[in-house]
Symmetry: C2
């Protein structure tokens, strides 16, 4: 009997090692691979991905899981592994292989069509692909199974345990408060001055700045590295190796810094996952939302706070002397401008969630058949007007802006919002449990927060599902009140209201 | 029937893709991997290596080979693939798996012991490991089989078709001429001036210099990249991606440049292997010796030539203005100092082959049982005195300097020498067939040589065995006369004799 457990663990280790290799192939593809190496690299990535997929749905693994699920003598960690791995196993196996292959081909075509459609702002050419993607996702939802709403079956992939009903509850107060608050800020508040932030900021100096910030918050450069890419990301190529990438805009010293701190937040999570969980199926974040809570907390609640700038303004002044004339308060205000805008990835922390809400409402409607894909552009623009008071001039700046739907990733967007909400809820708890947290920030000491997160979140990897983990850490269900309080308080002060 | 051929090719493509992945893991390990990632990386590398090895000795592959070896309707390329892959298959299968595993463990211990022994210059502590490595190699030679000399069975790994007898023939004239010629140079010649090459040369500027040289000789940076490592190397992570590494010494502008050109020579070979050979077992150099001939040719016959410096002296003067006062002739002489010395990897092109000859004689004696491992230090020092007139002060600078024997790589050293000899023979032929070759060099145009090598060597990959390839290209058997003429003529002139 105990032999099955060893065989099971060995199987997961094999998958883990191949995944490690695959991650490196991906990382290199986006950072270092020379132009002419891409075509062969795609084949190598395809081969490794297929091997991993086959091992993840193998009959062998199925037999191990079946036997281990019956056992009552497993350690808590082993039980968690069996639960998490078993859940994914059943999801992968639920889809008939032929259907999945058909979908994979359609997806590749859809992604290519989307790229072209976005470039030409031509929704009509993308529509047939989008319709297919919606259709596949609806069929998958039936295969996966759900009790209330087919959309639940899709969220499960990114946020296990979360349901549409619970999301609606979480969102309701946000919806009531956020849009009016933004209007209030913009119409009646005083926009911070940003003129002093203009200039040319060489990439090499910005890298130095990012490095200093990452070192300060506790990112371990002996277990990772910082490179540059067009689209920043964090990737774990193996234990002891959590890499981040960022990008620097030469006319903006903050974009690169916050991109680094955002990825740094993801990386602190991954660097904090203990070695015992290595290659057990548990060596990752609890969910996309919990992962995003870490990146958003370090980027916004830490990096865009006044205490942070009390510590960091001498450092930015050392790297870019033009900031020596600015006070910490001035920089703090300048990095916290609120501006309703068209593009999600460029949105500030106040307006960001409205972008997500809009997407959530539309995609949930698509999956439930209440909304037809052909009506999306109109519905999108109406909602933008309603939530943010801005209307896209074309679909490239509207419904075509995100890659997710082209790849059939319905159910992913809510994680971004949940990340912000979880971050606020966790941060409020941390402040309550560590009374001098922000004074420590002002001295450049971020270790109390990191230790708290390590203890409450990081060390568990995927042992707990996200909502259970949050409850364990904060004593409460997910509650958007924390986020609302955070933004209302912070931005009322900044905007002099 | 034709189905077997497709299955065989598919099998090789699978191996090729895994090898591509493994190469990237190795490259990254030596260039970018953070400190704490090494332990997991070793496991991932172990896993991939094992998978590749298993596929390379699988019964399935054996059946394909057996069937294909009987067929007379294969294309020339397919026949070559079956020959090359079949040869390796039989070598791998010849060793009983248990014995190979035992050897692998002993080898890891031996390599570790060697590292310590070299650091402490303590041959005695390494001796028992060395004895084991000799013993394993002798047993392997019996399993591999040979007609005359067990050492032949070991050379075969690196230089297929070469024998001890033929090596002795090739070496005899070298042995007669080289040692007296070096003595003549050093005792009676005029050593070039090198004072003007002293200074501090920042790594970033040296990188620029290497880049300019590599671009000039035709290295394609869109199908590769240049990084820095302690021990420079060339690695193909896949078609369209041949990477090189180099290292820069801040007090020497030439060490890094020539290391780059050496690796660049290897890389030009790999970049010239046609895409049709990708993942067929033929997408590599014909042998270690032929590979080394390419690196040594670009490093020495091109990079250390007067025509090269006629082209390159304005460039080095642009990067390092102190060279503006030196003529091309002066730089040319300064980079061609001959100096009998203790360490092989630092040897100039004239003395280098004597280092190899010494190793060849000793290792051939070890494998044939004429020499006992315990007598190596004494024999080494005697031979150094005889060939080069210098005696190591300790074993760290003598018998312990190279890693090869600690890993059981007997039969490898001759490839280095053959590389020099093949290079001279090929270069003489190229000069004969392209009369204005060196005038073109002086104008910075190296494409006639590269095209010639592409046509005669690169495009064949491993289709031909090394000696056949050399005969095809030059019309002659390997002949050390070309190398002797090259060094005698070049260095007599430089040393004013």
């Amino acid at each position: 009997m105990s032999d099955t457990l060893s065989l099971y663990k060995k199987h997961l280790r094999e998958i883990g090692k191949l995944n490690s290799s695959l991650s490196l192939l991906h990382w290199d593809q986006r950072t270092h691979l020379p132009e002419k190496g891409h075509s062969a690299r795609a084949e190598v990535i395809g081969k490794l991905s297929k091997m991993i997929f086959e091992l993840s749905i193998s009959d062998e693994l199925g037999r191990y899981l079946e036997e281990l699920e019956e056992r009552d003598d497993l350690s808590e960690r082993d039980r968690a592994s069996v639960r998490v791995v078993g859940r994914e196993y059943r999801r992968y196996r639920a889809i008939p292989p032929d259907l999945f292959e058909e979908f994979s081909i359609a997806r590749a075509e859809s992604e290519t069509a989307w790229e072209k459609a976005r470039a030409a702002s031509d929704f009509a050419s993308f529509l047939p692909h989008l319709e297919k993607m919606v259709d596949y996702s609806r069929r998958f939802a039936e295969y996966f199974g759900y009790s209330e709403n087919p959309y639940d079956a899709l969220i499960e992939e990114y946020e296990p345990g979360m349901t549409t009903a619970q999301l609606r509850e979480i969102i309701a107060p946000l919806k009531d408060k956020l849009a009016p608050f933004i209007k209030h800020l913009v119409d009646e508040g005083t926009r911070p001055h940003t003129e002093f932030t203009r200039g040319k900021f060489p990439a090499e100096k910005q890298r130095e700045l990012s490095r200093r910030a990452l070192e300060a918050i506790g990112y371990d450069f002996t277990a990772g590295r910082l490179d540059t890419t067009v689209h920043p990301f964090t990737i774990t190529t193996g234990p002891g190796d959590v890499r981040i990438t960022t990008r620097f805009l030469e006319d903006d010293p903050f974009s690169g810094l916050y991109s680094s701190m955002h990825e740094g937040g993801h990386a602190l999570y991954d660097q904090g996952i203990p070695d015992e969980l290595r290659w057990t199926g548990l060596d990752d974040g609890a969910s996309m939302g919990i992962h995003e809570s870490q990146s958003r907390m370090w980027e916004n609640m830490v990096g865009r706070s006044l205490p942070f700038w009390r510590f960091f303004s001498p450092i930015i002044s050392e790297v870019f002397p033009q900031f020596a004339a600015a006070s910490p308060e001035e920089i703090y205000r300048a990095v916290n401008v609120v501006e309703p805008s068209l593009i999600r990835v460029e949105a500030d922390e106040v307006t960001y969630n409205l972008h997500i809400m809009l997407r959530f409402e539309l995609e949930e409607g698509l999956i439930n058949g209440r909304i037809a894909a052909k009506d999306l552009p109109e519905l999108w623009n109406e909602a933008m007007e309603r939530y943010l008071g801005v209307v896209p001039p074309d679909d490239a700046h509207g419904v075509l802006q995100d890659v997710h739907w082209s790849g059939g990733m319905f159910g992913y967007f809510p994680s971004y919002m949940l990340g912000n909400l979880y971050a606020a809820q966790l941060f409020a708890k941390a402040k309550q449990e560590i009374p001098d947290l922000e004074e420590r920030f002002a001295k450049g000491d971020f270790s109390p927060l990191l230790s708290w997160l390590r203890d409450k979140i990081h060390r568990y990897g995927r042992i707990y599902d996200p909502i259970d983990l949050l409850k364990e850490a904060t004593g409460e269900e997910p509650d958007s009140g924390y986020f609302i309080n955070y933004v209302v308080q912070k931005y009322s002060e900044i905007y002099g209201l």
